[in-house]
Amino acid sequence: MARTGRKKPGLRVLVWLGVILAALTAVLAGGTIAGQASWAPKLALDLEGGTQMILAPKVEGGADINEQQLNQAVAIIRQRVDGSGVSEAEISTQSGRNVVVSLPGTPSAETRNLIQASADMNFRPVLLNGDGAPVPPEKRTPEDQLPKPTAAPANSSDTNWITPEIYKQFEALDCNSPAAEKSERSDPTKPLVTCEPATDKSPAIKYILGPVEVKGSNIVTSSFQLQQGAQGAVTNDWAVNIQFDAEGTAKFKEVTERLNQFYVAAGGESGTDPKAQFAIVLDDQVISAPRALAVITDGRPQITGGFTEQTAKALSDQLKFGALPISFDIQSEQQISATLGGEQLRMGLLAGLIGLLLVVVYSLFQYRALGFVTIASLVVAGALTYLAIAILGWTENYRLSLAGVAGIIVAIGQTADSFIVYFERIRDELREGRGLVSAVENGWKRAKRTVLASKAVNLLAALVLYFVAVGNVRGFAFTLGLTAIADLIVVFMFTHPTLQLLARTRFFGEGHKFSGLDPERLGAVPLYRGAGRVRTPEDRPVVVRSKNTGAAAEAERRMTIAERRLAEKQEQLAGSSKTSAKENK
């Protein structure tokens, strides 16, 4: 057999594959030691247990939602979910229309309602405020001294809204402990007792607020900027600007006219009448309660006072959310307990293992010893896929879902197919009468193209599924794509080099009966057989012509036996004996 330059072609590639595998393992090991990664792949919620909700946002008035609004919706939900103390929530948008909220564990009814509710922003006048701490029980106002409404309230700032019940509620309210989220939104036509949570700069404050006067939906937009001084020079104070629509402008004018009277009556800047304040309420919590320093007639109030750039931006964003009263319909809510997911995973893996075993048995049956190459290749593909999943779980937070597991199991078959295509091509070459070494090389040349073309179709499908798909289709598609790439790496860097090496062993090279590449079994009888065996004309099924006669010869080489005989006869008749079958080396 002719030798090409290197003594062991393929060995170098195999070494490279070893290096890649070792490097990936080292990366993962490093991550694990650093405590960031883990050896086990990260599991998605369906296997780990948790709840996934798919929410369809609804804009008041049934308007369509655009992407920016959807992103705002995600921000709103994230704020709410994080606020309610649930950690590790996954919130994302889906197909540009839905919001997917995945929470580990089972969310309480409160959390569910909280997620579902619309961002509810409105403006209420302040009736009373006080220190955020609850009044100690012994100091609370006795029953008979509680404020009693003397008449029906005339406007939203009327203290007649304060009933004994509301006052008691106000005294008992504790704004310093995290608010137990209420499942119901307040009635906009009734007074509200609520808190302004403590910030770095100010302690918590509690309020009794009058009924809603201006709705958040009346806000057109909001921005923030550095405040301008009296001379128009820019100061270092930040301010938040609001722009109301026509309805909001009229209402806000009316409100500030009333509130500004309290402000002026109480002595302006030094006054302390809470009724001069209007509270901006988001999800029933006061986010800011500025005083009405002037009557705003143009619907463009500016809120000032102790903002930093950050807090100004935060308030401005919140006001924008308020301009967008999105509520959510739960389209699908799936609670998957970890036990069920675990059971499914266990069974899925068991099925996969059995499937793998069947593939092993089948390849050994079909390809004899060559089947072991298939198995080894599958093992390498498995190792690559596993490492990739574990590392992606660490770096990209890729989580393996049940659909992903199914993707891997399905990939077993598709991966093994590349080997089949390759092995069949080698067999074809052997049938042509080639020696194994050249059969491996020639078979590879042809199989390579086929494998690349067909894997391109697979990858294309995985990519399309990934980018267009919804929900767990993505996990499936991702895994399919991942395994397709792993498959390519394995075929190029493991299966082919291994066969190059094996072709030079006696067992395979001489076509042992169990090698799966026994030329005799494949109907090819090479010229040199040793053991005194002489090839008879009947044995010779193929007339191999000069190898380099180009594509036209290709078709001729693939004649049926009958045609070949016919051709031979013709040749013999013509007296030319062109029968020297060559190894073509």
């Binding site: 089972t106 307990s337 078959g413 598709q414 197919d417 074809d428 049938r431 693939r558 049926t560 006869k569």
Partner: protein, 337 residues
């Protein structure tokens, strides 16, 4: 095995040959009938058996039940919602699944409690799922978009790779047949169509094209020098390629279908309904039909699309002439084939 290898040899050399291309009329008629039935059956049956994701409703899963009596579950539901008709099924060893129409939050909680005590399990062994009907519609819509995008890109990819749109078109025809008949089998067998089944369905399309590409690659190889060859007509060359890749097709199909079958029969037997079963059923059916469609529809169709090309008509005439000439010069030819 040696039998199979011999089979492969004979197919390779052409000693044994199945006339896939020549008998194309028969295959096309069978495929057309299959497709027609696949359209008629769901229409006649009033549509597919749509899963809860498409109909909308509530679903409860009770794990670790002491008894798998379905009537207990039915009663737990009808106690809360009188007159409703819940579907109660034992989906795995000791897991029950109860599907109902859409329930309110309140009813859901009550039924959950009812099921917990009825089956004697703890609170977290009962899970509830609420699925809106639009969810299924979303999946379907996205799946359809995915399908169209995939088909367009795949058609382009194949046309570029094979440098002929006729191969692309034939491959897509094979895929379409696969698609229709797989859907038809679903309608006929009354299996539930769930989003997982849709995923499987999309994967089948990819498999179908993948399989066709492998066979077409061989066809292209065999027909690359057809202009200057007088050995075989184009159709015969295509047919030989299909025969030569037949062992590959069978092996590939087997290897692809074994793991899928394992999930389907082992997984589903132990687990009952669920992601894995829905997915694997679609794949199982689709892989079988996809492989057949390549051999019986895509390849013959390609031969049929091209046989009328003037170049190939001329070539076919040359083949005939040579054969007639060979007959005359070698009358004693042992025509064994």
């Amino acid at each position: 095995m040696s039998g199979f290898a011999t089979f492969g040899n004979e197919l390779y050399t052409g000693k044994r040959s199945y006339d896939f291309v020549g008998a194309k009329k028969i295959w096309f008629i069978i495929a057309a009938v299959g497709v027609a039935l696949s359209i008629i059956i769901p229409v006649a049956k009033g549509g597919f058996n749509l899963g809860i994701e498409f109909r909308g409703g509530s679903e409860f899963t009770v794990s670790n039940v002491k008894t798998t009596d379905a009537t207990i579950g039915e009663k737990a539901v009808t106690d809360v919602v009188p007159g409703s008709v819940p579907r109660v099924a034992n989906v795995a060893g000791n897991t029950m699944r109860i599907q109902t129409d859409k329930l309110t939050d309140d009813e859901t909680l009550k039924i959950k409690q009812g099921l917990t005590s009825a089956y004697g399990v703890t609170d977290n062994e009962v899970t509830s799922t609420f699925v809106g009907p639009t969810w299924g519609a979303d999946v379907t819509k996205q799946a359809l978009i995915g399908l169209v995008v995939f088909v367009l890109l795949a058609a382009l990819l194949m046309a570029l790779y094979f440098r002929t749109w006729k191969m692309s078109l034939s491959a897509l025809a094979g895929m379409a047949v696969t698609m229709f008949i797989t859907a038809g089998v679903y309608a006929l067998s009354d299996f539930e169509v769930t989003p997982s089944a849709i995923i499987g369905f999309l994967t089948v399309l990819s498999y179908s094209l993948y399989d066709t590409v492998v066979v077409f690659d061989k066809i292209r190889e065999n027909t690359s020098g057809i202009d200057s060859s007088t050995r075989r007509t184009f159709g015969e060359e295509v047919n030989l390629a299909v025969n030569q890749t037949l062992v590959r097709s069978i092996n590939t199909m087997m290897v692809a279908i074994l793991p899928v079958g394992a999930i389907l029969f082992i997984g589903a037997g132990l687990l009952g309904a669920g992601t894995l079963r829905d997915l694997s059923l679609a794949l199982f059916v689709g892989i079988l039909i996809g492989t057949a469609a390549t051999i019986f529809v895509a390849a013959p169709m390609y031969a049929w699309l091209r046989q009328g090309e003037p170049e190939l008509v001329k070539q076919a005439r040359r083949v005939e002439q040579r054969r007639a000439g060979a007959e005359r010069s070698a009358p004693a030819s042992p025509a064994r084939a």
